[in-house]
Subunit: 420 residues, 2 copies
């Protein structure tokens, strides 16, 4: 078993080699990505064999059906993963881009350029496609990667990183540019996120316990992918057909997604028959409604579950929706400030002043007006590919695409200027 | 004594109020800054009285002369601080700026806009002007601020934050928008940087011990202001007059600055009489040279201190320079990778290919070619004002001006679009 620190040190050396002129060209990095896609297709059988082993062990230990579904790969999915590499190859390379450029009165030329972050540690659970998505985006942006996946996907992750490492060697890079953590103890996570001499960023993706463990212990910077407790506030005068369409899409299109709706806030002026129409549509679509007393009093004809205090601020990840009546926009903003998770918050309103206030004052990675919360996604927002949605405030917020895996460097060029 | 968490909670509430439409306008924030400048001038006597108290206590406890100098304020300096507020008022407000804007094929309008970071914790030592600089930049960008200055400047910092808080109240803001930590125990720092429910960013500025304490204990994101072990590499064929000018400016203009030169790396092909000329000029200017054996062998006529291994990678902050002969550009880059602090690194070279390689491959916040390392400064690089130079990689690198105190938010606006 290789020590965690040894693997991190090797990653740092690999990241430095990656920065050398011979290795950092976009064309060479794209050739590397193409080699990974090719090898994925070639090694599909080996990948599925390893995945079958993981699934068998998971089944034997009584893993739940949703967990098994997240773990499972099949040939169409591996082909899809390989195909999706082409779209990342097609994306512009942010590394080397000039952010600002100015010639100063002193005569020096000042350029701020995008550079790779360095060494990224990814700590995640279940879905083995994360192993590949993270590798592809990290390599496109010139970073080294240390992966710590869940033990339930160990065999699959070993074969997947094996494919990536083989392509790295084949294309003339160090295989240590992408590494799976060898030490499988729980304590290895703590060691990894405290290795600030070698690791530049830790990205935890998974349940609350995992994220809390990383945040509490890390000495390296962390960009969190925290839960999404997403609200939709229905303002006075909102068009009811539009509201119904947005609520159904936000809640029911994919209830297990982090940008799915969890709580509906309804302005008290909303006519009872309109409120009844929206809630009935949700129930018809298979959604359980957990409503506050005032909502239930408004629509006595409907059978609604009384909301418990715990139902507000809760991420159901299921076809369940909390519903609450609020007096006005201020009360909606205040409720979201207390119960939201700063992920995705939305308003439906015909009043542009209220829309502007909501978008300005609600604190979240993404604030949506008159559209579905489900648009908070890298592809939908125009980033092309993402490795998750950051709920941190620093460095990056929202879908993490290529640019989020870079930092900047100041380049000053002169002709012998000195400071006065 | 107010509890640390209570102060942080109050800061969070103040930050939220600051985000409301009534308070966030640039004109209102600028009026607040103008009020602070006015009150600074009006209360100059009280500020100097408090500072005299700090100086007396510091002298009584045997504080060193350089420390006393850093602590001392006088009327011209207070006037200068008040005057400098005008330049920040004149700077454009980054909050509300659109970073990207796109209408997507789905029909939604996607805007990424700059927003305040939220609550910033500043942990620093000595210089009381930091109290004011941080307040001015944080308020201009709509942030709340919790300050933890050194105990040696306690009286001065109390009066300075008092001036800021009085102006806040006068202009209709919560006085808790800027707070000095009440609890003066050392343990309060740890509490502050673990208050991630309320604090969005910690900025430590001071000695290595302080920065290490913050990094080791923080659960909130940290942007470090670490030491500057700055190198200048003199490439083969470098113009010797230009080299001499840059070395003298970088080392001797202000040896105590973090962007001052600490180590000169000289290409082995540099003629001995040229090397001798540069080192003699440094000695004439009062600089002690600590040279490697190969340098000393090259210029036997000069009296040079033999460099000890500790002299490389060391921040002298004094008129002392380590000098080392290197075989080529690769050796220079490799030396900097081991001994540099990722702050400021420089090359003097007539060879543009070497300049490009150096600027691409050397990992530092600022990489300078054919100019003095002393240009790595907010004013010189065009930011107008700064609260230090970040040596972190994430979120920000280099001089921290207004933009570095903001983050972003995605604003999606539609007409009833749902996700397919």
């Amino acid at each position: 078993v290789k020590a965690v620190l040894e693997q991190c040190r090797n990653a740092r050396a690999a990241a430095r080699a990656f920065a050398s002129s011979a290795h950092a060209h976009t064309a060479r990095k794209n050739a590397l990505l193409a080699a990974i896609a090719r090898d994925l297709r070639l090694q599909c059988a080996a990948i599925l064999h390893a995945n079958a082993g993981d699934l068998e062990a998971a089944r034997a230990s009584g893993t739940s059906a949703p967990m098994l579904a997240r773990l499972a790969l099949d040939e169409p999915l591996v082909t899809l993963l390989a195909d999706s590499v082409a779209s990342v190859i097609a994306l512009p390379d942010p590394v080397g881009q000039t952010i600002t450029h100015e010639v100063r009165p002193s005569g020096i030329s000042v350029r701020r350029v995008r550079v790779p972050l360095g060494v990224i540690a990814m700590v995640y659970e279940s879905r083995p496609n994360v192993t590949l998505d993270a590798s592809i985006l990290a390599l496109k942006t010139g970073n080294a990667l240390v992966l710590r996946g869940g033990s339930e996907a160990r065999r699959t992750n070993e074969v997947l990183t094996g494919v990536v490492r083989q392509a790295l060697v084949h294309e003339g890079y160090s295989e240590d540019t992408v590494q799976l953590l060898d030490n499988q103890d729980r304590s290895a996570i703590r060691e990894l996120v405290r290795a600030h001499a070698y690791v530049d960023l830790a990205i935890p993706r998974g349940g609350e316990a995992l994220i809390r463990e990383v945040v509490e212990n890390a000495t390296v910077p962390v960009v969190q992918h925290y839960k999404g407790v997403c609200h939709l506030y229905v303002d006075a005068g909102a068009d009811i057909a539009l509201t119904e369409r947005l609520v159904l899409n936000a809640k029911m299109q994919r209830p297990s997604a982090c940008n799915a709706l969890e709580c509906l806030l309804v302005h008290a002026a909303t006519p009872s028959q309109e409120l009844s129409k929206v809630l009935t549509a949700l129930q018809s679509a298979g959604c359980e409604i957990r409503a506050c007393d005032r909502v239930r009093a408004r629509v006595p004809g409907l059978t609604l579950t009384p909301a418990s205090p715990d139902d507000f601020g809760r991420e159901f990840l299921a076809p369940i929706l909390a519903v609450k009546l609020v007096g006005d926009l201020d009360e909606a903003i205040a409720h979201i400030a207390v119960y939201g998770s700063r992920h995705t918050e939305a308003i439906v309103s015909p009043d542009s002043a209220n829309v502007l206030r909501f978008q300005a004052e609600v604190d979240a990675a993404c604030v949506v007006a008159n559209a579905s919360t489900r648009f908070h996604d890298g592809g939908e927002l125009g980033l092309g590919a993402e490795i998750g949605i950051a709920t941190s405030r620093l460095h990056w917020r929202g879908p993490m695409g290529l640019e989020s895996l870079t930092t900047m460097k100041w380049q000053v060029t002169g002709n012998g200027e000195t400071r006065a």
